[in-house]
């Protein structure tokens, strides 16, 4: 059985900066894993490399056995990877529902001719796109705001919308980039429940970048920790919590008197 995601010896240089340093890890199918590390560790860069936003400087990335290294973004996405963003990237001119529909329509198509005339399958396919999108909105608790302009939502809701939009792509691997950023502890708990529910209901492989320890430690049985672009620890929450390198990365070194 192929691994959901495999990184092998991935390096990325931005000019002289060694942003990702010989990263290798494996995600099994159906895992819910966490990618943690202090700011600037290179976590989002990993997402960008996987989704083809950047090209790797060396190394390889495979997705269910298929090599996706340096493939174009839209190709990678079409193979079944979806992501959310650290700095929210919703479509500002569209409503909440339209944002999700824009993703959902990738799997429900009609021909150009049907699109120009609204004949044939247009009506039924449009309805299907709308219904499926509404269902996803219901799942994340945004159904009552479907016709609001996406950027007028409160911050936490916008994050949930991005998740709904990513789910509409029916991905096999979901990458969540700091989904809990800017949330208070109560909201983080809600998010935890949502992620776990999505994981159970859809049977997805999920990789979460997070800063919030509460989220990651609670729901991710498999955690990868990075610092300065390199892997410093990998294992279950207990292992990570006690790992000296991890403590050093987050809390700094103890000064020996």
């Amino acid at each position: 059985m192929a691994f959901a995601l495999e990184l092998g010896g991935v390096n990325k240089f931005f000019g002289g900066v060694h942003a990702v340093n010989d990263m290798s890890f494996i995600l099994q199918e159906g895992e819910l894993a966490g990618l943690i590390g202090p700011n600037g560790a290179g976590k989002t860069t990993i997402f960008n490399l996987v989704t083809g936003v950047y090209d790797v400087s060396s190394g390889h990335i495979t997705f269910f056995g298929e090599d996706i290294t340096n493939h174009k973004t839209y190709e990678v996405v079409r193979k079944g990877i979806a992501r959310t963003f650290q700095n929210l990237r919703l479509f500002a001119s569209a409503t909440v529902l339209e944002n999700v529909m824009t993703a959902c329509q990738q799997h429900h198509r009609y021909s150009f001719l049907e699109a120009c005339t609204h004949l044939g399958r247009w009506r039924s396919v449009e309805r299907e796109i709308r219904d499926r999108s509404m269902t996803l909105l219901e799942r994340v608790g945004l159904a009552d705001r479907a016709d609001q302009t996406a950027t007028t939502l409160p911050y936490g809701h916008q994050r949930r919308l991005e998740i709904a939009r990513a789910l509409a792509l029916e991905p096999r691997l979901l990458l969540l980039d700091e989904p809990a950023a800017g949330m208070n502890p109560e909201e983080v708990q809600d998010l935890n429940r949502l992620i776990q529910k999505i994981h159970a209901d859809f049977g997805l492989t999920i990789l979460v970048i997070e800063h919030h320890m509460e989220l990651v430690m609670e729901i991710c049985p498999h955690i990868v920790c990075m610092n300065f672009g390199a892997l410093i620890a990998e294992g279950d929450p207990e292992h990570i919590q006690g790992h000296p390198e991890v403590l050093k990365a987050y809390l700094g070194e103890e000064v020996e008197e």
Binding site: T44, N48, V53, F85, N87
Partner: protein, 293 residues
């Protein structure tokens, strides 16, 4: 051989004038990351101010030139304050700035059309155009040599300004990252005005030489499209790139006009643009602006 050398000198001379325009345009682009389509109008303002200073006010070329530089620089600042600043402060959609710049370009050009009329005007012959014999190898006009020399002096002056002065350093920092430069204490508003002033001044110098070469008319600013092409070839945002691109363009134009056909000059210019976009879209020295994703 003589003709070839002649055309090369013509090409370098034309290219150096393009360089003055392209550099100003690239300078604004490197700071604000948008194409100021109104750049050509500063050129026209420079040309007309010089013309009227010479004809109506009877000044000598130095005074007239100085006046036109100031006029162009001031209009550049005014354009920025009136049209771009309000948009910039409200949104970061560069499309709106693009459209506004196009609008300004049309407005300024047509202000001249309706006030002074669209007919061609020849500048009084204050810049000598007599033929000059170069070491017996070729004859070229004094005008070409002078414009080449003046362009070199201006660009050299700009280089010194950028590398040796405090404001020059601020501009280079802002070209790298405007917001951070602001956070580091640079007065962004004043910096932008300064950049526009410099761009306007350079355009005016180019405008004066172009008016002598091609006669003066309101649509002369249209020649800026060639400077844009030069900037793209050299790499948008890169000043040395703008110079190199301009020289290449000037040479290509003159060599085509001299040896193939004068009609095809402009086609050659646009073909160079297409070729650049096809094979090396960021231009020779261009910086690709990376977004933080």
């Amino acid at each position: 051989m003589g003709t070839l050398l002649q055309q090369i000198i013509n090409g370098l001379s034309l290219g150096s004038v393009y360089a003055l325009i392209a550099v100003g345009y690239s300078l604004v682009y490197s700071i604000l990351l948008f194409s100021n389509f109104a750049h050509g109008s500063f050129l026209v303002i420079g040309g007309y101010s010089c013309y009227f200073a010479l004809k109506t006010l009877g000044m000598n070329i130095w005074l007239a030139g100085g006046l036109s530089l100031l006029a162009a620089g001031a209009s550049a600042i005014l354009t920025e304050r009136l049209a771009y600043k309000p948009i910039r402060e409200r949104t970061n959609v560069t499309l709106y700035l693009l459209i506004a710049s196009m609008g300004m370009s049309i407005v300024i050009e047509n202000i001249f059309v309706v006030t002074v009329g669209g007919r061609f005007r020849a500048l009084p012959p204050v810049i000598p155009t007599d033929p000059v014999n170069l070491f017996g190898l070729a004859t070229t006009s004094a005008f070409d040599l002078i414009s080449l020399v003046v362009a070199v002096i201006c660009l050299g002056g700009l280089q010194i300004f950028l590398t040796r002065t405090k404001w020059g350093l601020a501009i280079r920092a802002a070209a790298y990252n405007l917001r951070i430069a602001g956070l580091m204490g640079v007065n962004v508003s004043r910096l932008i005005s300064l950049v526009f002033f410099v761009a306007g001044v350079l355009a005016a110098v180019g405008g004066i030489f172009l008016s002598v070469r091609y006669t003066l008319y309101p649509q002369l600013g249209g020649i800026t499209i060639k400077a844009f092409v030069a900037a793209v070839i050299g790499g948008l945002g890169s000043l040395p790139g703008a110079v190199v691109g301009s020289l290449i363009l000037g040479l290509a134009e003159m060599l085509t006009a001299g040896f193939i056909s004068s009609q095809l000059r402009d086609l050659v210019v646009f073909s160079l643009l297409v070729i650049t976009l096809l094979f090396r879209p960021t231009g020779l020295f261009g910086k690709s602006v990376g977004e933080k994703i």
